[in-house]
């Protein structure tokens, strides 16, 4: 690990770029309107980004090769999806997910 000063400056620089990517759209859209086409495009962001974040967790990456299936997460996803369909309650879905993975890890 480098010096405390180096780490601190790096943190501040990283904080600045993440802050700008978060706030600039808010600042700019306050002044400008997006074309209807872009709004339609953005309407797909919620489902595509959530699906991507889920599916990404189902694999272990090996650049240059096919990814390896993460069976623990894949199996734990099944009761989680079922709970979503049956209960539609987010808290319950999360709790079932946590318990499912714990059980899968116990069994393996």
């Amino acid at each position: 690990m480098k010096s405390t000063e180096f780490v601190l400056f790096t943190l501040i620089a990283c904080g600045l770029v993440t802050w700008l990517s978060r706030i600039l759209p808010f600042v700019l859209l306050k002044k400008f309107n997006l074309p209807a086409k872009v709004v339609e495009f953005l309407s797909f962001v919620p489902i595509t980004i959530m699906a991507a974040l889920w599916f990404e967790g189902l694999f272990t990456q090996h650049i240059g090769h096919l990814p390896q299936v993460n069976y623990e997460n894949l199996i734990a996803s099944i009761p989680t999806v079922l709970t979503a369909i049956l209960t539609k309650k987010l808290l319950l879905i999360v709790i079932v997910g946590i318990i499912s993975l714990a059980l899968v890890r116990l069994a393996v």
Binding site: V7, V17, R22, F26, K30, F41, I47, L53, A84
Partner: protein
């Protein structure tokens, strides 16, 4: 989730996501401590950078002595999906002051974004500052506190996988994805289902070529484009 935008309702809506922040926050603290960071530096990182997966990358790059400019660029790229989420959310806060917009933008996360998009389906497409800010601030504080706890634990435990809470975030996305699909009436369920299914091969094959964190942004852009095309084809 209901149609109320009160602070109380925001706290209730955020509760299911808290497990995820705790699980990942503790894991992050442990990893940071293992890489030689002090408790206060790890916590400071969560307060200043506040970027989930980008923070894990930041710690590992620091540990191997990467130059500052490369670290900053990596963190920016990994977190650039925030631009898309902020763009989507900002449309609902056009009438709010610039200060409120900047404040909300500063603390927006994957999770608060997903929650707010779900909330819209219950509130006739309305969001307000008080509700969103409560969700954001709760997440921020829980994230920072969990990092501190994790960094302290990091002196004793070295394997964050022992906390099965790491699946909490994935479970939350599964839940929010399903709830979003069944309640967003602006896009036909059939279209949504096809797009979600298409994301699987996109992610699978994309993982061969692109680092997983950056891949999220790439496949999201492709998925949105496919969504627009499919929506017009089916209508």
């Amino acid at each position: 989730m209901d149609d109320s935008l009160s602070v109380e309702s925001a706290v209730k809506d955020t509760l299911p996501t808290v497990f995820g922040y705790i699980g990942i926050g503790i894991s992050f603290g442990i990893v940071a401590a293992a890489a030689g960071m002090s408790v206060w530096m790890a916590t400071l990182m969560s307060l200043i950078v506040y970027a989930g997966s980008a923070q894990f990358i930041l710690v590992s790059l620091l540990a191997i002595g990467t130059p500052m400019i490369s670290i900053v660029l990596s963190v920016f790229l990994v977190n650039s999906r925030m631009i898309l989420m902020s763009m989507t959310t900002a449309n609902f806060f056009k009438k709010n002051s610039m200060f409120e917009n900047i404040f909300l933008g500063s603390l927006i996360t994957d999770e608060s974004f997903a929650l707010s998009m779900n909330k819209l389906n219950f509130t006739d497409g309305k969001l307000d500052f008080k509700w969103f800010n409560t969700v954001n601030v709760m997440a921020y504080l829980v994230w920072a506190a969990s990092t501190a706890v994790g960094a302290m634990l990091g002196k004793v435990i070295t394997d964050p996988k022992r906390f099965d809470l790491d699946f909490a975030i994935t479970a939350m996305f599964i839940g929010l994805l399903y709830l979003q699909m069944i309640s967003d009436k602006s896009i036909k369920l059939k279209v949504q289902l096809i797009i979600v299914l298409l994301m699987l091969p996109l992610v699978y094959f994309g993982l061969i070529f692109i680092s997983s964190d950056l891949l999220i942004l790439v496949v999201t852009l492709i998925g949105c484009a496919l969504g627009v095309i499919l929506k017009h084809e089916i209508n």
